[in-house]
């Protein structure tokens, strides 16, 4: 097979079939993925959750994952946050002419592995090849269907005063990994992406109680942005305890050097959960038994006062506003 992807691979002829057979079918093969124009599926439920997401990360491969793994995690985690068991995915590739076939295969292989972990099947797909310079490497869009668990109604509008706020692991690793891989900062830090599928974590929490008010995955914008969104949507205040927020030492160190706030760095495998206080310890306990959420912690609570604001109790016992999200992440200069 060719070493790089060419425009001919996207032209619909023999070479397209070769690319599909040798890369995509090889890794995505399952009984629901056929050569027909659409997949025919049956679902044993009244309600489904349905979502889509595009992925354009650069570099496409980074410590802890690649764009393929990310494209599965992103969509299955959006489904999971609604309390929906991820079932089926479609994926559409836009590949830049000249892209390495070997890299593409690594991406497909990561998708296969992650889909298996997440318990979803890839049942439809599309491949386009764009001219050199028209896309940056490879863009992937995944669309997912999940079956909603009965009795579960999570929403960003449902946070209530008195709720405990849980984060399912240490924060900021994905964002920092990409920043360090992308920019030549001359910083050598051992940071890997937290990218992981999270349905298992959600399912185990629903085993404790179905009365979970909010579940969000803290992707772009990080945990801080999610908290501001929920404070706004639910019309409540949020009080965090700085000392309880799990941050890996190396992440903390680099953030200190660059003047970055870990709460605003992207995660790709972290949930922010709002649940009635009485379930909080039990929820953390079940999360601790699962690998992606072994560092889960209660980081704060929902308050009636200061609606729309996120306040942090600092390590000297003062309370300061978490700077609202906005603007580019600009490293400080001195």
């Amino acid at each position: 097979m060719d070493k790089t992807v060419t425009l001919a691979h996207g032209a619909g002829g023999k070479q397209t079939n070769e690319l599909i057979d040798q890369v995509f079918k090889k890794h995505f093969s399952n009984p629901d993925l056929t050569s027909d124009d659409a997949a025919v599926l049956s679902l044993d439920t009244e309600k489904i959750a349905f979502t889509t997401d595009g992925f354009i990360v650069s570099p496409q491969e980074f410590p802890g994952g690649n764009i393929g793994k990310l494209s599965i995690c992103g969509t299955v985690n959006d489904l999971a946050c609604m309390g929906a068991r991820p079932r089926y995915l479609s994926c559409a590739f836009v590949i830049e002419e000249g892209y390495s076939m070997e890299k593409l295969e690594r991406i497909a292989s990561a998708m296969e592995k992650t889909a298996a972990e997440a318990g979803v099947r890839i049942v439809a797909g599309d491949t386009k090849v764009a001219g050199k310079g028209q896309v940056d490497g490879v863009f992937i869009t995944t669309t997912g269907i999940g079956t909603l668990q009965e009795g579960v109604r999570t929403s960003g509008f449902s946070a209530r005063p008195g709720d405990a706020i849980i984060v399912s692991g240490d924060i900021g690793r994905h964002g920092l990994t990409i920043l360090l891989a992308r920019e030549d900062l001359g910083i050598d830090a051992e940071v890997t992406s937290d990218c992981a599928p999270l349905w298992e974590c959600v399912e185990s929490m629903l085993g404790v109680t179905q009365d979970i008010h909010v579940i969000r995955d803290a992707t772009r914008g990080g945990v801080g942005t999610v908290l501001y969104e929920i404070a706004e949507q639910s019309g409540v205040g949020i009080l965090l305890d700085r000392a309880k927020i799990p941050v890996q030492e190396s992440v903390q160190g680099v953030c200190g050097m660059l003047g970055l706030e870990p709460l605003y760095l992207a995660c790709e495998g972290r949930l922010v959960v709002f649940a009635p206080r009485q379930y909080a310890e039990k929820l953390v306990e079940v999360l601790h038994t699962l690998k992606p959420s072994a560092q889960a912690a209660i980081i704060g609570e929902v308050t009636e006062d200061q609606p729309g604001r996120v306040v942090v109790t600092t390590e000297i016992g003062a309370q300061t506003l978490l700077p609202p999200p906005g603007g580019e992440l600009l490293p400080r200069i001195c």
Binding site: D184, G317, T320, R332, I333
Partner: protein, 356 residues
Amino acid sequence: MIDRIMSKRDKQKAEELNEIRSYDGPPVRIMEVCGTHTHEIFKLGVRQILPPQVTLISGPGCPVCVTPVDYIDKAIYLALEKQVTICTFGDLVRVPGSQGSLANARAKGGKIQIVYSPLDAADYAVEHPEEEVVFLSVGFETTTPASCLAAKRAREAGISNFSLLVANKTMPSAYRALKDSVDVYLYPGHVNAIMGTDTCRELVQEGVSGVVAGFTAEDIIHAMATILKRYAQGEPFFENCYEQVVKPDGSPGARKLMERWMEACDTEWRGLGVIPGSGMRLKEEFRDMDAEIKFAVPKMQGSAPTACRCGEVLQGKCLPTECGLFGKACNPLHPVGACMVSGEGACSAYYNYGSR
């Protein structure tokens, strides 16, 4: 063992916090000179635990904030009229000049490259011999040596397409210029790590007290507690609370590098006006790398927005919240003045961390 050390440190911190809270000495004005300190003090909420007679003033130590308007105008002129590639630290990109910022210039087709170190700018020039590259050299003693290194690297590489638009500043003259509105300086440890502590000791002779501090929560609490303890005793004082990093003679190597490449000059500080001898410029023999000379940049009449009170904020004469634009026309997404642009500026700190 580690647990015991930690608990000892925690215990010391708790004791120092108590000392700060229960200070009953005379009124005192403390100026944190450095933007990084400003940021950390707000993040920790230090003001909330201070007794009412202790006033913290945010000083002029954010390099972006004190860079005058005409400097931005010159950089934009170079980008748009002379089509040079501007290499700059990210913070400067959104600082408003007389008419728009470098971000606006980029939208008009100017080539603006964000770098994290002056050396990256020199490397960029080496890799792009077809472009004229100008590095926007701003900052204090902490960043000036790196600018000199960049000039040195370009010279050693034998390239002629690299120059610097220099507006570097030195802190000692600013300490003297502001000493009447301050009782005690919280000196920035990284500046002293280069410059040593001679100036601080001289200032004690002039009646100005100060403490050198690091940047962690423990460092800042320790320094504040020290300041209040010593101030209550009544005599002018100096103490180095960051001895693990700051040596009395600083870093002779870095100073030697600066002395080799740069010399003192008068320079304008936004808000403070011209302070004699407080600026740095390339020495005569390196003037071919001075972008102002190389591109015959005309004199600019930089005009700051009239209602903006950044100037008074930088002198500690006005709180950010007392400016009519604060939080309304001027906010971090649409900054009017430089103090709102930089994450280290007093206005953005007041805005971002709440004003209480």
